[in-house]
Symmetry: C2
Subunit: 369 residues, 2 copies
């Protein structure tokens, strides 16, 4: 072991100690939900969601796998290393340009598995249907799920259906869960980002969220835009083949968007994530609609875009691998990881200034997925 | 191979061919949902549910695992044999004597895995919350889930939370999924029943369903009864240790009750299931309330009772194993499998007559789980 390696190792240890100390601190803090009743913000993926998860779910279910708060659970079982994940979908409207609740649910669960570095294998699908929901609509949703599963190379192997009375749901809610095989020697984690790492995104952001908002007809504009919903397991396989050893973290930018992923990484890794506004790919129509809605595209959900944090020496290979795949053609570097200030996301604006990009407090885009 | 063995083997082959022919026939039949809109009956576990599953879900997702229509999927993966299952819970009211939606969800998913012969390992939990739902109620639900998981020896390792606007849900819906290890050389299946087999139930039936109906206050009576919700993986482990080689089928008697399980076995195995009414254990309060509701206790849901179909030479060992466990103290033989008439369930009534016990057409007990 030479001096540099020893220093690296020492640096690793210090960092690990810092992360452990942070976990200890978070555990000691015992976050509290201040509200007496659930609000839409608790489902928005921002601050209220994080507090609810930590104060209610992690507090009660407490175990080392759940406490990692990744997109899915990585499990060491007697049957090998598996990834396991679930998501409920309550998107409104159910049908929108580019997709519907069905392919959204399949792609979302496939993506959560892919972001763990897993090869998605099997999905479950559970439906909560409102009495009176048209059977033809259910058939459209289910047909989209079948097509999405086939495109992603997974099988829907088990499921359930419940029906509730009129006025006790909104047509159709879908919950998917998925199992995948962790057959690569990776430990992707929000706490794995290191100063010097590069932050990449696989394409233009915010298409899904803006499409759904426009489909609600609340913003009296029509635009040529469609959801980016897609299964990213082919893209992650390509990326991990090319730059696996250097990939620290993969996340699909759903609820809360790119800003939320960067915040989670900054806090969990105790690093700063510095984004460069002019490098963040956003379609003009998304920028325009987001302006009308008064929100930053960095917070708008995508359903077919990933953020990767990659070691600097693997960044070129990672970018090339993403761009070589149809779903990553628009991949680009959007920022870098720095030492300071730990736990924060900074944005270098187009005007040359710098501002903090925090977690969202409210929910500007309810029921986006 | 002696003559008897040869004859057995030939009998096996003929039966297998019959089952395959039946599957081919079912596939060819292409069932249709006649209703234009979803009704509560589609969620009741009876005829409408079966048609919906076959016509919509199996039709679209078509794969050999799903087509077996067991409580969970048995998967041969590179990581070994796994069981995978999911259920949504929409029970109303959320809290009832003996449990709430939280432990019901955990026990339900643990039981679906146990009924596959699996050792349940990991659960996911996904919540759809209605805006305005009291946080203390959520905490009660979650605390029950944690306690139920601990009692069953499983961990809740991943989850999701969505919030919908007031009037778009009914407080709280929970969807659990679960993964278990199939580490026994079993192939339990609804199509495995053979003439001569014995049908056992692990205790008095209908407690859960009647408890929930009474908790709604619609039947102006109060009774000393509580839900039987419980994790049955300890009980199935004991049963399979004692009589594993002879166990053909395990099912927990949830929606649709014991009658539905027997119908599924009769149809899938092309056998008759003959039940003996006076042997079926039902508490007097359940009999009384079911009479007031105008339903047969055989259709009322339990959430902590199993039905086992066992080869005759293993029946004594199976019964003794069930009775030796606190959750199987009331186990008893309730019927037998016969050759004829294939696909039907018959009940020998207390009055000495015999009647057909068919699948339910409507839903007398909506939102029971």
């Amino acid at each position: 072991m030479n001096t540099t390696q020893r220093a690296d190792r020492a640096g690793e240890t210090t960092r690990e100690q810092q992360v452990l100390a942070r976990i200890a601190k978070v555990r000691a803090r015992r976050p509290k939900v201040r509200e007496e009743r659930i609000t839409l913000a608790h489902g928005a993926g921002g601050k209220a969601t994080h507090t609810l998860i930590e104060a209610v779910f992690v507090e009660a279910f407490r175990n080392p796998v759940l406490e990692q708060l990744e997109d899915g659970a990585s499990l060491d079982t007697e049957a090998g290393r598996l990834a396991f994940t679930t998501d409920s979908f309550v998107v409104s409207p159910l049908f929108f340009p580019g997709g519907n609740i069905g392919d959204l649910a399949v792609n979302g669960t496939v993506n959560d598995l892919a972001m763990c570095g897993a090869r998605p294998l099997h999905l479950s699908a559970s439906f909560i249907l409102e009495e009176g929901f048209p059977v033809v609509d259910l058939q459209r949703v289910v047909a989209s799920m079948a097509a999405a599963a086939q495109a992603a190379g997974v099988q829907i192997v088990t499921g359930d259906t419940k029906v509730v009375e009129r006025g006790k749901a909104d047509g159709c809610y879908v919950t998917t869960a998925g199992v995948g095989l962790l057959d690569r020697p990776l430990r992707l984690s929000a706490s794995a980002a290191r100063p010097g790492d590069v932050v990449l995104v696989s394409g233009p952001i915010g298409d899904h969220g803006i499409t759904v908002m426009l489909a609600r007809g609340e913003l009296d504009i029509s635009a040529d835009i469609r959801s980016d919903t897609a299964a990213l397991n082919g893209l992650t396989a390509r990326l991990l083949d090319a730059a696996g050893a250097g990939v620290r973290l993969l996340r699909d930018a759903t609820r809360g968007g790119v800003a939320t992923i960067c915040n989670e990484a900054a806090v969990a890794s105790q690093v700063a994530v510095v984004l460069d506004e002019k490098s963040v790919p956003v379609r003009p129509v998304v920028t325009g609609a987001a302006e009308l809605l008064g929100i930053d595209p960095l917070y708008v959900a995508c359903e077919g875009r990933l953020v990767a944090v990659v070691a600097p020496e693997h960044a070129d290979a990672a970018l090339a691998a993403l761009r070589a795949h149809p779903l990553g053609e628009g991949a680009t570097v959007i920022g870098a990881v720095r030492d300071d200030p730990p736990g924060l996301v900074l944005l270098r604006t187009s005007f040359g200034g710098t501002r903090v990009v925090d977690l969202l407090v409210g929910d500007p885009l309810p029921r986006i997925c």
